[in-house]
């Protein structure tokens, strides 16, 4: 049984006489133990999507199953119980400002009617997990953003949930803090086996910890699959945009002028052969390296390069098939990407 299953989900909002479709017929399956990234530009509908997983937003149409249970069939009380087994963290942390760190972590247990002594013991353990034991007695206003998010994570874990939803959880944090929070999430996923759903607009978040990804564009799910696969050969425009966009600052695309451009991705095993050098020697024609980078995708080093090919369609085709023969992922990159 899948941990989360979303079937034909549609969500429309009424704005005066106008119906706005935030999500359009989404189908998505998330397996137990996944770190599942849902990525899209702002306004794409990803935040609405994550809120349908715990029914903070009720879908207009379609169903959401958590461990096989259709959320729509639950009573209000049953739904609240189910929600307590789905932790959630937010971009703005949403801690109770008038409660101490310990009391914040105890809060979901208090709601569930757990005895105070027991709750405090649990909070102590959780604060150890997120490395914040020494902050147990302070109030949220005395914490940095990263520390606040750690408290929020400890709080979300208090009820021992099966699922953790992260809504832009690292968007308000600087790169170093983001990295440490992501590592913490990965640790939690590995140690506790919690399924994690991450909503983000940053491809780097997805490539650094997710194993699967869904791309949401304008309310539609446009692409879904293993992170490695989509990173190597993105099919949809939205996916290409998201993957390329993060790198724009290294090489503005308007500089990347060439008649025909291809993007190639190297994985670890293909990095042994000097492919580009051999390509040039083989065809006796120059190629222009427009940009090049490596990054960590799911623990593997991936090299990424955009090549400007020399003129002549025959030669271009030959080069592309030569590259493909070397087991590289090759995609054409259009001017407007």
């Amino acid at each position: 049984m899948s941990e989360i299953e979303i079937k034909n989900l549609t969500k429309t909002f009424k704005a005066k006489d106008l119906n706005v479709t935030a999500l359009n017929n989404i189908n998505l399956t998330i397996e137990k133990g996944d770190i599942f990234g849902i990525i899209g530009m702002s306004g794409a509908g990803k935040s609405t999507l994550v809120r349908t997983i715990n029914f903070l937003e009720r879908p207009t149409d379609g169903q959401v199953f958590i461990e096989g249970v259709d959320l729509a069939t639950l009573s209000e009380k049953e739904l609240r119980k189910k929600r307590s087994k789905i932790g959630m963290i937010f971009q703005s942390f949403n801690l109770l400002e008038q409660k101490s760190v310990t009391d914040n972590v105890c809060f979901p247990l208090e709601l569930a009617g757990v005895k105070k002594k027991e709750a405090r013991q649990k909070a102590k353990e959780l604060l150890k997990t997120v490395n914040l034991e020494e902050k147990a007695k302070v109030y949220p206003s005395q914490l940095s953003g990263g520390q606040k998010q750690r408290v929020a994570i400890a709080r979300a874990l208090a009820t021992e949930p099966d699922i953790l939803l992260c809504d832009e959880a690292t968007s308000a944090l600087d790169p170093q803090t983001t990295e440490s929070i992501l590592q913490l999430l990965k640790e939690i996923n590995e140690k506790l086996g919690i399924t994690i759903v991450i909503i983000t607009h940053q491809m780097s978040v997805v490539t650094s910890i997710c194993n699967k990804v869904a791309i949401i564009d304008n309310g539609d799910l446009v692409e879904e699959g293993a992170v490695e696969e989509i990173f190597e050969s993105p099919k949809s425009d939205a996916a290409k945009e998201l993957i390329l966009d993060t790198k724009i600052r290294y090489s503005p695309l308007d500089v990347l002028e060439a008649e025909r451009k291809v993007r190639i991705v190297f994985s670890e095993n293909s990095a042994y052969e000097p492919v580009i050098a051999n390509l040039i020697l083989n065809f006796n024609a120059p190629v222009n390296i427009l940009k090049a980078d490596t990054r960590n995708v799911g623990g593997k080093a991936k090299g990424e390069m955009i090549l400007g090919l020399p003129e002549g369609e025959d030669l271009q085709e030959q080069m592309i098939s030569w590259l493909k023969e070397r087991n590289l992922a090759v995609t054409e990159v259009k001017e407007d990407v």
């Binding site: 929600r83 959630m88 703005s92 949403n94 400002e97 008038q98 709601l111 569930a112 109030y139």
Partner: protein, 220 residues
């Protein structure tokens, strides 16, 4: 001039004033706090939006608040007689004071609760909190500083209104000020009562401000 009798009268006046102010604030909150919570919960962005209930509450609040207190005092005489058995004296004054304060308090409470960060409420919902739990464990707790500040302002206003009720035999320092200062031209007694009112007001305000600072954990 300030013989034993006058001093005793002023002491009784202080006691009556405090009695009217504090008791009417208390009962004002007994009525106004739930009203304020209902307004917050039933508003459009509230936990349980309900246009009809919000509309009724909103209407009542506006109507009562738009009647000047002095008129309300007179209008309510039959009702006051029915509740406490007589229409004069400090206990009788509490009735119109409460009626006047409740809608005002409801508004103050509503706006304090409206200030609570929607994200925190959403987080509580995501944890599986019921609406009642959200009201008592999130809204009232997170808004407590603002609620207390509102209560301090309300108490100060009721202190002023209790003095106004002196004109219709309400008792207290206001009553003394009107009787001696206005009817008998004894400015000294009037000045003393006014100074006492100022001191009481300051004490209430300072106490409220200090307490609010003490219970606020946002900027220690």
């Amino acid at each position: 001039m300030f013989d034993q009798k006058v001093i005793e009268m002023i002491l009784v006046g202080i006691k009556d004033t405090l009695y009217m102010t504090l008791v009417s604030t208390f009962f004002g909150y007994v009525l106004g706090l739930p009203m304020g919570i209902i307004l917050n919960v039933t508003r459009k962005e509230g936990l349980r939006p309900n246009r009809i209930i919000y509309g009724i509450g909103d209407f009542i609040c506006n109507i009562v608040r738009s009647v000047p207190f002095l008129i309300l005092l007179i209008l309510l005489i039959p009702f006051t007689k029915f509740v406490v058995g007589k229409s004069y004296g400090s206990t009788a004054t509490i009735v119109p004071l409460v009626i006047c304060a409740a809608p005002y308090i409801a508004r103050v409470v509503e706006s304090s609760l409206n200030e609570v960060d929607a994200g925190v409420i959403e987080a509580a919902k995501a944890m599986g909190a019921s609406n009642l739990q959200i009201i008592f464990k999130v809204l009232l707790v997170e808004a407590r500083v603002s609620l207390l500040t509102g209560a301090t302002i309300t108490t100060g206003i009721l202190l002023g209104y209790s003095a106004m009720s002196g004109t219709v035999g309400g008792g207290g320092l206001g009553d003394i000020a009107v009787r001696y200062g206005y009817y008998r031209w004894q400015a000294d007694i009037m000045i003393v009562t006014v100074v006492l009112l100022i001191i009481i007001f300051q004490l209430i305000q300072n106490f409220g401000t200090a307490l609010a600072r003490f219970i606020d954990h946002r900027k220690h």
